[in-house]
């Protein structure tokens, strides 16, 4: 039954405007990051790690969480428009699966975004900055950890987009979340704030591994945050009356 809900959610993304955001926003981030890297070579070493610090500085601070917000807001906007709430809520599937399917689809889009971010990082390093050699394999681990770190934010943004019928709110919250995440990381509170988990996972603006091999607490924190928001969403879907506009 969950698989059917995921199939339906995937189908809604066919030819959707959201793919433009998926393509363009990481390009902006890569442009800023590479430009900044090349302008500050007197302060930075000319290597792949330093290029990563500049790419992630912009990406995690200004783009990553708002993009998740855009994905979440878009998927719920499809239901808010017209009378699609009536359609999905009268379908013979568990109400919570409707939310979980959106959660998994946004997670999939986030994974694809991370892949695109890596390709841009690679292209910027090889073709623009002309860095020697290849990026360290660790970068791929950090990108995957970024997906894991985003799970709590995905669930939170989806919850927000489900309750508040505004496209802008989840995006603005994502923007504020990016900044608050950086502050939480700098205070050593990475595990206590979902937006910080994204940055800690990505090892944003750092050359050394921020998690220092402490992966289990990180994974648990990601799952707990995601679990909390998924549970709240399931409760709301079960208890609230459907209001379609």
């Amino acid at each position: 039954m969950l698989l059917r809900c995921i199939l339906a959610e995937n189908r809604k993304l066919h030819g959707a405007a959201i793919w433009l955001v998926f393509l363009i926003v990481p390009m902006l981030s890569a442009l800023y990051g590479t430009f900044n890297f090349l302008q500050n070579l007197e302060l930075l070493d000319f290597d792949w790690y330093n290029l990563w610090t500049q790419h992630t500085l912009f990406y995690t601070l200004f783009f990553f969480a708002p993009m998740v917000g855009v994905y979440a807001a878009y998927l719920w906007r499809l239901e808010h428009l017209g009378h699609n709430w009536n359609l999905i809520m009268s379908a013979p599937v568990h109400r919570s699966y409707l939310f979980v399917a959106k959660f998994l689809v946004v997670a999939k889009m986030t994974l694809l975004t991370q892949g695109w971010v890596f390709l841009l990082y690679l292209a910027a390093g090889k073709l623009w900055a002309r860095l020697p050699g290849w990026p360290p394999a660790q970068i791929i681990l950090w990108l995957l950890r970024g997906v894991l770190g985003s799970l709590g934010v995905i669930a939170f943004e989806l919850l927000l987009a489900m309750v508040i019928r505004s496209f802008a709110v989840p995006v603005l919250v994502g923007l504020a979340g990016g900044v608050s995440g950086m502050l939480a990381v700098s205070k050593g509170l990475s595990l206590l704030w979902p937006f910080a988990l994204m940055q800690a996972g990505m090892n944003a603006n750092r050359k050394e591994d921020m998690l220092g091999g402490q992966h289990l607490p990180f994974v648990l924190a990601c799952l707990v945050w995601a679990g909390i928001f998924l549970a709240v969403a399931a409760l709301l879907l079960r208890a609230r009356d459907v209001r379609a506009e």
Binding site: R11, K12, H14, G82, L87, A91, P92, D241
Partner: protein
């Protein structure tokens, strides 16, 4: 006859406003049930409660022989198709893709999409984006979504809203055929009785959340006895006689015509005899039959309940 829908004492209260009050709806299997009421009467709220989209404040809902609750919800919805408020759909997708989404959710084979597209005459427009559809086409797509999986029960909320006369006619024929072609029971709402009287066999009239009438359409028609038009040679004398007999009188279209309220046969015959005896010169007595629309209006305006 088995009832496909039964509600008992169904209520929905928002703060101090009762949207639906003590509703006992009974829809027999195989019928096309017209749920009639003015805008804001409580039709959509009732239909949403039937589908579990809105939680009743009080009362019970039984669909397809099972109580609508968390345990039975999925098995009931598997056999129910609905179109609530206005047609849903994703504007950036084609009709085919929209139907595939519903087919995925209902676990219906893809080949059923062709069948329903054929029924609603949208087969040749299946690859057109729904955002480019006219309202009529979207309504038909909404019906197609409801028909996927050959449901036993169809709940259609004002499916003719916004359609032109040709579209209304087409939708009416489509719905009227459903019990015979698909074996489905249909609950259909409208704010116009005239729109449904040709296709429904049972009617429920609701206003201000209360069910004012429920029963066969013929029974509603029996309430069609209207005013009486009395034509006399001496209207002044006739007026005196009528007032003496405590009958309210209004002026008619011409000086010789008076309008009397609805009377049953025996009192009317007695009144005519007295008028004749008193020399009023009765020339003609005509019963004015109410149209169904007038009955509906009198029910909803006065809020009277009819058994």
């Amino acid at each position: 006859m088995t009832n496909i829908i039964e509600t008992h004492d169904l209520c929905k209260i928002y703060g101090s406003h009762a949207a639906v009050e003590h509703l006992d709806l009974v829809v027999p299997q195989g019928s096309v049930y017209g749920f009639i009421g003015p805008n804001g009467a409580g039709k959509s709220t009732t239909m949403k409660m039937l589908l579990g989209l809105i939680h009743p404040t009080q009362g019970t809902v039984q669909l397809l022989g099972q109580p609508m609750n968390d345990r039975n919800r999925l098995s009931i919805l598997r056999h129910t198709g609905s179109l609530i408020e206005s047609p849903a759909g994703y504007a950036h997708l084609t009709a085919q893709e929209n139907l595939q989404i519903v087919a995925d959710l209902k676990q219906v084979p893809r080949k059923d999409i062709d069948r329903v597209l054929e029924i609603v005459h949208l087969r040749e427009y299946r690859r057109r984006k729904v955002g480019q559809y006219s309202l009529g086409m979207r309504q038909r797509l909404g019906i197609a979504q409801a028909l996927l999986g050959s449901p036993e029960l169809l709940i259609l909320d004002e499916p003719t809203n916004g359609l032109d006369p040709a579209g209304i006619q087409e939708m009416r024929s489509l719905i009227a055929e459903m019990p015979s072609s698909c074996g489905a029971t249909v609950l259909i709402s409208s704010h116009l009785l005239s729109e449904l009287e040709m296709i429904v066999d049972r009617v429920g009239v609701i206003n201000n959340g209360r069910l004012l009438f429920q029963g066969p359409l013929d029974q509603l028609r029996r309430h069609s006895r209207g005013d009486i038009l009395l034509e006399t040679l001496d209207p002044d004398r006739a007026r005196q006689v009528l007032l003496a007999n405590r009958v309210r009188v209004r002026d008619g279209n011409s000086p010789q015509c008076l309008i009397l309220p609805a009377l049953t046969d025996a009192p009317l015959a007695e009144l005519v005899r007295r008028l004749a005896d008193q020399g009023a010169g009765v020339v003609g007595v005509t019963r004015r039959t109410k149209t169904l629309e007038e009955i509906f209006l009198s029910l909803t305006e006065h809020g009277e309940e009819v058994g």
